[in-house]
């Protein structure tokens, strides 16, 4: 009897311990299969055999676009040699801070990604990592003259200029404006006339006041002009020895211009509205212009300018736009035009990196093939751009593209982007820009809404940034 008790006790305890372990195990495997599920789906559709004998390529990304791109890669017969041997396992994390943290910690360990992507906010940081392989390491050769220079400069190591990452897209910034309001107030909806009305900041403010007299807001929120100003500073926030530098003239001009617009009633919301519901609402009606860029045109303003959306409900419970919704007359669709605006700038981008681990575990071949397919090979790059309306990182490819965009009332957006991309300058960007952007946002609110003095607001930027950048001097 006692023995039975003992056995029972032991079994129970073991079962308990085991159930704990399996609980953990289940968790891990279910997330893995979630991440990998779609990836294997992609390769299955190409008629790949048993996935077990394929080498796994670990991909880390912040955007669901990557999965779409890899599916396109796998669907192309020309890549059969790669897709027969390799299988892409994509893990997606769209919260920037978590994603950065995951990549940085994984890179240092055994479970490093083979291929990983970066947004402009942290591409520089990834390029500086010890475990990031350079383009040359991966065996990719490029002709540097074929690219918009900034897409290469952006991910070069600060110390020796080694090219670390490649981008398939360039993201020159432009101003999107409402043609109907332009016609009503400025008397012409022609891009040349509108550009003349906002060719510098003084004219921009002047036009804003005219719009206000007609009951139209010039911009939607206080942070709208930020990127355009911040890209044109005369020096980086941090010098090489981590000394703080603030281009006070530009920051002052930015703060004062925004305040003048705010005081004159030209700003719809007295808050930072980017990526909020109020931002999207402004795109539907009542606001003359938005500062956007290439991807912004397709992924941000196009779906959000629609008032009728009949598509599926997304994870947040909002209706998404179905293909049929994209038509002139729905919301402000078809009432937009593009001009360069007061100053050239860029906004975002996606860079591809290979890790040193892919050189060791034999997946370098696949990593190289994917990067070359989207970022080097002209034909496949062009095919992808034509499919999505995105803008390529190579001027040569951009030359071959044209569009008759009904969203823009027939204007060819490639023509404007080609011009805008020539003037983009990323010399003043550092890997800490994200922190400074947030600090500038906060300081702007303190200055305009909470009544802080201009000098204090500028000093506030430094104080705020010093909290998170520990070695700043």
């Amino acid at each position: 009897m006692n023995k039975l008790k003992r056995v029972l006790c032991g079994t129970l305890a073991l079962a308990m311990a085991a159930s704990m372990m399996t609980a953990c195990g289940d968790d891990a495997s279910s997330t893995a299969s979630n991440g990998g599920g779609t990836a294997s789906g992609g390769s299955d559709s190409t008629g790949g055999g048993a996935s077990g004998d394929k080498t796994k390529v670990k991909v880390m990304t912040f955007t669901d676009e990557t999965q779409t791109m890899l599916d396109i890669f796998c669907a192309d017969e020309a890549n059969k040699a790669i897709t027969d041997k390799y299988e892409f396992e994509v893990s997606l994390e769209s919260t920037a801070s978590t994603y950065i943290q995951n990549v940085l910690s994984d890179l240092a360990g055994d479970n490093a990604p083979d291929l990983f992507l970066a947004d402009a906010d942290y591409a520089k940081q990834f390029a500086e990592q010890e475990q990031t392989a350079s383009i040359a390491d991966l065996g990719i050769t490029i002709n540097e003259d074929d690219y918009y220079k900034y897409t290469l400069d952006f991910t070069s190591r600060q110390s020796d200029g080694t090219r670390m990452g490649l981008s398939h897209q360039a993201a020159p910034g432009v101003v999107l404006y409402r043609t109907d309001y332009a016609e009503q107030v400025l008397g012409s909806k022609d891009p040349a006339d509108v550009q003349a009305a906002m060719s510098d900041w003084d004219k921009f403010v002047e036009t804003a006041k005219k719009m206000q007299e007609n009951g139209i807001f010039m911009i939607n929120g206080l942070d709208e002009l930020k990127r355009c100003f911040m890209n044109n500073r005369d020096g980086a926030w941090l010098k090489d020895d981590m000394t703080y530098y603030c281009d006070e003239a530009t920051v002052t001009k930015f703060f004062e211009t925004t305040k003048e617009l705010a005081d004159a009633g030209c700003v719809q919301y007295m808050e930072n509205t980017q990526w909020t519901t109020n931002w999207y609402n402004g795109m539907q009606d009542g606001v003359f212009c938005f500062f956007g860029c290439t991807w912004y045109l397709h992924y941000t303003i196009k779906p959000n300018c629609l008032t009728t959306k009949t598509g599926d409900v997304d994870a947040d419970g909002n209706a998404t736009a179905a293909d049929a919704d994209y038509k002139v007359g729905n919301g402000s669709y078809g009432l937009w035009g593009i001009v360069q605006g007061p100053a050239p700038y860029f906004w975002g981008g996606t860079w591809w990196f290979g890790s040193k681990k892919c050189l060791e575990d034999g997946t370098a071949e696949a990593v190289k093939a994917v990067i070359e397919y989207f970022c080097v090979n002209d034909d496949s790059m062009k095919a992808y751009m034509e499919k999505t309306g995105d803008f390529p990182s190579k001027p040569g490819v951009a030359e071959q593209l044209s569009s008759n965009n009904d969203f823009l009332g027939g204007q060819d957006h490639y023509a404007i982007f080609r011009e805008a991309a020539k003037n983009v300058n990323t010399k003043t960007t550092t890997m800490y820009d994200d922190t400074f952007n947030t600090a500038v946002n906060d300081a702007l609110i303190e200055y305009i809404v909470n009544g802080m003095s201009l000098d204090d607001a500028i000093a506030y930027i430094k104080d705020k940034a010093a909290e998170t950048i520990t070695d700043m001097k």
Binding site: G10, M270, E271, N272, Y432, I445, A465, T468
Partner: protein
Amino acid sequence: MASSFKTRAKLEKNYCGYIFIAPFFITYIVFQLMPLINTFRYAFTDVRAWFVDQSQTSHFVGMDQFKTVVGEMGFKEAFFNTPVMWIMGFIPQLLIALLLASWFTNEKIRVKGQGFFKVIFYMPNIMTATTIGILFLTFIRPNGFIHNICISIGYVKNARMPITGTWFGRGVIAFINFWMWYGQTMIVLIAGILGINPSFFEAASIDGASGWQCFWRITLPLIRPIMTYSLITSLIGGFQMFDVPNMIGAGETAAVFKRDIQTIIMYIKGIAYTGSFAVGKACAASVILFLITAVCSLILFYVMSDRAEAKARRAEKKRAKEAALLEGGDL
């Protein structure tokens, strides 16, 4: 034979027990104790330098990180905001909870539909803090109902202006905390009151004590331990306040009173996970938070503990000891 069997049985019983409690201790050591110890270690270490240059074992920097943290504007603001918002929320929370608890337990009033009210009052606590944060955010944003009220009473000049004001932001957070937790405190206090021997109340009413006197002289002193419990748990939770203020204040949308409602944990999270990922500095701030919480809890515990009773108990013990000594002397 019999004796050897006894020893064996005793030993094995012990082993069984260890196996049963092992999972907890293993999880605790791996996921709680080790991070806890590391927090203290990192607080004195230049974590980044240590991480990059793994050849050297120690990057001990002494109190440097504590000094930087303490000098920072964000730190000072956070260490002011957090207790202030906690007190603003906790005082009404305890008062309302006490009032409701004494009503619900009062034999003379006999509130009808008690279960219904308890559920209703407890309800906000079931919702996630994130949901509540978003809910209140919609109220105070332009076009929200609180925003509209502010316009109609002239506090906000135009419809495009967000509601500003240091104390408004803090008040919103304090109100949410109050609203989320008074039900829970009420349930705990009801349990405490029901634990009081009813014969006390009977005896008091026979002696002609009024309801008010009963409350002050019987209920309140006897639920003191339970009040100490809710006060201290609430204090610890209050110092770690994060989810609601983060929902309301972290987004660009409500940057207006970002500084007024920044809490300690928000500050720590900010320095640890953005910019140059200053983990060491964040650990130093965490250690300071731990010390402050510990000291405050001890003070509260001391203030709330029944000192008169403890004194009486000590005196009783002393008397007994003396009596025993005296007896011994006699022998």
